[in-house]
Assembly symmetry: C2
Homo-oligomer: 445 residues x 2
C-alpha cells in the first residue's frame, strides 16, 4: 500500500500476549513509535478486557477501594492497538503462531478458536499463584492475584462476620472469626494488614461478636517479614501488625488445608497443628503462566522464558518475553530480575522500542534497571517505605504509598474513583454492604 508516496511499507503484525503492566507498556510504546507511513498491526491479547492495577488489590480486598477503581479498560488505552479478548491456549514458537479461545465468559454462546500469525511475538502473560504442591491448598484457599480473588476475600470476610454474629457455639464462633494468611512477602503482609483492619473496624457493628474471639494469623516459613526490604523496616512492620492484634507464626510452614482448617508446622516443633478457620489467603509465591511450557520457547530455572538482556528469546529473533513469565538477566551475570510490576513496566517499554528497532533495522537496547524503592502498607494509616535508599515508616510511609500508587494509576477516571473511595472510607467508615456473587456456570476449559 502506498501512502503519501513516501515509501512502500508492508504490513507487520506484532502480537503482544497479556495486558498486564508489561504487555500494555509494550503496546503503548509500539503505538507511540509506529511511523505514520508504516503499517504495523499491533495486537494485544488478554482474557480480561482491562489492565489490573495489582498494587491496589489489597485495597479492594479490604473494602477500602471499589473494584472499578483499579481496572482500566484496555480498549481506551490506545486507539492504535487492536485488542482481542481471549485466553491464550497455545503458543507455537516454531511457526510464530498463537491460538486463542474467545468467549469463555459467555455461557450458552459458542466459543471461537482463533489463530494469529505474528511477525513479532511479545510474551507478557505474567504469573499465576504457586501453590507449591501443598495438600488441599488449591481448593481451600483464596488468592490475591486477580480482581475476583480480591472481591472474594472481602465478600467472604463480611459473610463470615454475619455468620459468626448468629453462631451460639463458642468454638464454632472462634473458627468463623479466624483469618489466616500464608506468606509474609509484600502481598501477604498487605493482605493481612487490610483484613485485620477490616474485621476489627467492623466488629462494633456486630453486637454479638466479642473482639477477643477475633484471631488474625500470619504464617511464613522465614524468620522475618518482607525479605525484600531492610531488616529494620521489616521489624517495624511486624511490631505494628502485632500491636494491632495480628498473631505472627514465623518459621512455620503451611502443610495442608481442608474444609474449616489449615495445618501448620513450626520449624523446631515435632507435631503439626490444625488451626480452625474458614478463610485462608495464600500469598506464598508465583510461577510463570504455564501455557508457555508447551510453546517450544526455552525455559529457565524459574520456568520463565529465557531471554537475553534485550528481552529477546534465545534462538528466536522475532520472539520476546517480559515480566513475570520471563527470565531477564541482570547485568554482570547476577541472576534474573524479580517478578515485580516495576520491572515488568520498564521491560515492556524497552521491548516496545526493541521490536520497533528490529523492524526498522536499528540496534537493540539492553535492560538495566534499579528499582526506585519498595512500599508496603502495614495497617490503617501506617506503612513502611524504602525509596532511593532512604527508609520511612508510619504515617509518612503510608502517605507515600497512597501518593505514589495514585499517580501510577493509568487513567484519570480511576484516580478520581480511588480518591473518592478513600475519602468516603475516611468520612463514613468501612462499607458493610455485601453484594452477592452471581452464580454462573464455570466455563469448561
Amino acid at each position: 500500500m502506498r501512502r503519501n508516496g513516501v515509501s512502500e511499507p508492508e504490513s507487520k503484525t506484532i502480537v503482544i500476549l497479556g495486558a498486564g503492566f508489561g504487555g500494555v507498556a509494550a503496546a503503548q510504546e509500539l503505538a507511540r513509535l509506529r511511523p505514520e507511513n508504516e503499517e504495523w498491526d499491533i495486537v494485544l491479547v488478554d482474557q480480561n478486557n482491562f489492565l489490573l492495577f495489582t498494587p491496589m488489590l489489597t485495597e479492594v480486598a479490604g473494602g477500602v477501594v471499589d473494584a472499578s477503581g483499579i481496572v482500566s479498560a484496555v480498549r481506551t488505552l490506545s486507539s492504535r492497538v487492536t485488542f482481542e479478548q481471549g485466553r491464550v491456549t497455545s503458543i507455537d514458537a516454531a511457526n510464530g503462531q498463537v491460538e486463542i479461545m474467545i468467549g469463555e465468559s459467555l455461557p450458552g454462546v459458542q466459543r471461537a478458536r482463533k489463530v494469529i500469525r505474528a511477525e513479532h511475538l511479545v510474551v507478557a502473560l505474567g504469573s499465576i499463584t504457586n501453590f507449591r504442591g501443598i495438600d488441599g491448598l488449591v481448593e481451600h484457599s483464596l488468592t490475591i492475584k486477580t480482581i475476583e480473588g480480591a472481591l472474594a476475600i472481602r465478600t467472604r470476610t463480611l459473610a463470615l462476620l454475619e455468620r459468626a454474629d448468629e453462631e451460639t457455639d463458642p468454638d464454632a464462633r472462634r473458627a468463623l472469626l479466624t483469618f489466616v494468611v500464608g506468606g509474609a512477602g509484600f502481598s501477604g503482609v498487605e493482605t493481612m494488614a487490610v483484613l485485620n483492619d477490616l474485621v476489627r473496624a467492623l466488629r462494633d457493628k456486630f453486637p454479638r461478636i466479642d473482639a477477643r474471639d477475633i484471631r488474625t494469623v500470619l504464617v511464613d516459613p522465614g524468620t522475618r517479614l518482607l525479605p525484600e526490604i531492610s531488616e529494620g523496616l521489616a521489624q517495624y512492620a511486624q511490631k505494628k501488625l502485632e500491636q494491632r492484634g495480628v498473631e505472627m507464626r514465623l518459621q512455620t510452614a503451611i502443610t495442608g488445608a481442608g474444609e474449616g482448617w489449615v495445618e501448620v508446622k513450626a520449624e523446631h516443633v515435632q507435631d503439626k497443628e490444625r488451626i480452625p478457620t474458614h478463610l485462608l489467603v495464600w500469598a506464598g509465591g508465583v510461577t510463570p503462566e504455564p501455557v508457555i511450557e508447551k510453546s517450544g520457547l526455552p525455559l529457565g530455572h524459574h520456568h520463565g522464558v529465557v531471554v537475553d538482556g534485550c528481552c529477546r528469546v534465545k534462538d528466536h529473533p522475532n520472539m520476546w518475553a517480559i515480566g513475570d513469565c520471563a527470565e531477564v538477566p541482570r547485568p554482570g551475570g547476577k541472576g534474573t530480575y524479580a517478578p515485580m510490576a516495576q520491572n515488568a513496566t520498564r521491560e515492556g517499554k524497552l521491548v516496545g522500542g526493541n521490536v520497533a528497532a528490529a523492524i526498522q533495522g536499528r540496534p537493540q537496547r539492553s535492560f538495566a534497571y534499579h528499582p526506585i524503592g519498595e512500599l508496603a502498607m502495614v495497617g490503617r494509616q501506617t506503612g513502611v517505605a524504602s525509596i532511593y535508599g532512604l527508609h520511612f515508616s508510619g504515617t509518612i510511609a503510608w502517605m507515600m504509598w497512597r501518593g505514589i500508587y495514585l499517580a501510577k494509576l493509568p487513567q484519570m477516571r480511576q484516580r478520581v474513583r480511588v480518591v473518592m473511595d478513600w475519602t468516603l472510607d475516611l468520612v463514613f467508615g468501612r462499607d458493610l454492604a455485601t453484594i452477592p456473587v452471581p452464580h454462573s456456570p464455570r466455563p469448561q476449559p
Copy 2:
C-alpha cells in the same frame, strides 16, 4: 426489669421479614417510636445485608452507576434494630414463629437454622419475578429485580460486544448484537433505554462492529408502553426509544426462550417467530415472595397476604403485611395498592406506627396514599415524568428523575457515590472494563 423506677416493662419481640423499602421503613419507625423505658426487641431479617435502591437498578445494568452506589448496609441504618442475615424458609402464622436459614452464601461453612418467636410479625418480603410459565424463560433470561441481575446484564452485554467483535460469520454476529427486553412497564422500558444507550455508546470502541448489526427489541403484549402513565407521555417515550434505534414489538407476546433465541408471537399473526439473541431480559411482572404460601396467612387474588386498611392480617391481630407481598385495600373498595416502592415505603412507616400503637393500646391508622407521581428514564438525558398531575418530558424530566431519586437514596455515602459516577460517566464516557464473575458453587436450597 425495672428502669428508673418508672414502669414495669416487658420485652416485646417485633420481627420484620424483609429489608426492602417497606421493612426498613417499618423498622426505622418502630426504632423512632420505641419509648426509652420499654424493651422492644426490633429484629429485621433479610438474606442480604443491605437495602437495595431498586429505582436505580437500571443505572447499574447500563454501567452508569456502580453497584456500591445503590446498596446501603442495613446495620448502619439504625442502632436500635437487631439485624439477622438469613433467608426466611417458613412462616408459622398459627404460632407466631418464623424459621430462617443462616450462612447460605458461605460454601464450606455449616449453615444454621434459627427459629424466632415474634409477638408482632411484619411480613415485608417483597416479590420475585413472575415468569408466567413461559417455556424456557427461567433458564434463558436475566431479570432486573436484584443487584446480581443488574450486574449480570451489564457484564453479559459487554462480553457480547467483545465476542461479536471477534465473530466473522455475519448471522452469528447479528445474533450476538441483538438485545431483547420483554415487558414495557417501567422496569422494561428503563432497561431497554439503558441497554440501548450502552451498546450504541460503546460501539465505536469496537472497530469491527458495524452499527447496523446492532438490534435492540422491546416486546410487550399491550398496545402501548408504560400503562402506568398518560397516553401522551407513553407516546413520547415510544418515539424517543424508536429514534434511538429501538425496535418496538407491541401486541406481541414472548412464547418461549432457548439457548440463542427468543420466540415471539404477534397478536394478529398466525406464526410464531424466533429472534436469534443471546441476551433476553424479562421484565414482565412480579409475584409475591412464595414463602408466604405455606404460612397459613390468608392470601388474596394476587397471591399476596390479605390485610385490612391498617395493614393488619385478617384474623391475626399480631401479624402485619406490607409492600409487594401484601394486598392493601384502597379506600372505597377500589382494589388494592400496586406493588411499588412508593407504596411500600409509606405502608412500612404506617405499620411501624400501628405496631407501636397496638403494643401501647392506642388506635390504629388506616393506609391512604395517592402517589405523588411517576418517573421513567427513556434514554440518555431524556425521560418522562408525571408529578402532581403535571406532565414533563425530555431533559427536564430526566433531571427530575436524577434529582428525585438522588434525594431518596437512604444514605449520604451512596448519594456521593452516585453523583460521582454520573460525573465520571459524563466526563469520561461509559466504562468498558468488565470484572469477571467469580465462580462460586451454587448454594443448595
